[in-house]
């Protein structure tokens, strides 16, 4: 590797570290809500986030003006959507009673504040479907008994 390229790679690695230090907490919170694991121990959420962040790391030089946070969140959502069968059974957290796709839509729309159209485009779903999933998910989340198991951790 040439000296210029190595220096650029080092700069990217430093920028990436700073990005993860700043955004890691919020992203991991979103990932834990998605996988429906108890927040104290969430290996699947960590794995999901690490692989999404790895993509962001690899794409860092190509991001240019794009927001790395949005890039990672999009990757996180797409990955979760692909492997949602694996996350059918949630073990804890406030959204554990929701099916994976409803969890995904509720977290994107209300946890992350993503607009309906943007969420629909990112997931490859029609906006009406996103709205329906979100409505159902919200109703289920609010109707849960007020004695959370995973929340107490």
């Amino acid at each position: 590797m040439s000296r210029g390229r190595r220096r650029q790679a080092q700069r990217h690695a430093r920028e990436f570290d700073a990005f993860v230090a700043g955004a890691g907490g919020r992203l991991l919170h979103a990932a834990v809500l998605l996988t429906g694991e108890p927040p104290a121990r969430a290996p699947a959420a960590e794995r999901l986030l690490v692989s999404a962040l790895a993509r962001t790391y690899a794409d860092w030089a190509r991001l240019r003006g794009d927001d790395p946070y949005e890039h990672t969140r999009q990757e996180l959502a797409a990955r979760f959507a692909r492997q949602r069968r694996r996350h059918r059974r949630a073990e804890g957290g406030v959204l554990s009673r929701l099916p994976p796709q409803e969890r995904l839509v509720v977290v994107l729309r209300h946890g992350e504040g993503v607009a309906e159209e943007q969420a629909a485009a990112g997931l490859g779903l029609p906006p009406e479907r996103v709205r329906a999933l979100c409505e159902r998910g919200m109703a289920a989340a609010l109707s849960r008994p007020r004695d959370p198991v995973g929340d107490a951790a």
Binding site: A13, F16, D17, V20, A21, G24, G25, L28, H29, V32, L33, P39, A40, A42, A45, E46, L49, V50, S51, L53, A54, R55, T56, Y57, A58, W60, G93, V94, L95, V106, V107, H110, G111, M138, A139, A141, L142, G150, D151, A153
Partner: protein, 82 residues
């Protein structure tokens, strides 16, 4: 506040107040290691594509220089004067 608005606010609050997990200290390092692996795989794939392209171009050049298809078919039957 309308009913759907109130529901949205409640859900937002529920999500925000849910327990935040502790970020493992090696999160960035793990992601960087996996990211490097991804980059290496991408570079290897690119190198493979270039190798195939180069091989095809060289092969075509050699074939053209031997066969010289632009020279036309050689005359094989003698012309007979009737």
């Amino acid at each position: 506040m309308s009913l759907p608005d109130r529901k949205e606010t409640e859900v937002r609050l529920l999500l925000r107040q849910s327990v935040h997990p502790v970020v493992p200290p090696d999160l960035a390092l793990r992601a960087a290691v996996a990211g490097e692996r991804l980059l290496r795989r991408r570079r290897a794939l690119l190198a493979l594509v270039w190798a195939v392209v180069l091989f095809l171009v060289c092969g075509a050049a050699v074939w053209l220089s031997i066969e010289q298809p632009w020279a036309g078919a050689p005359e094989t039957t003698p012309t007979v004067d009737w």
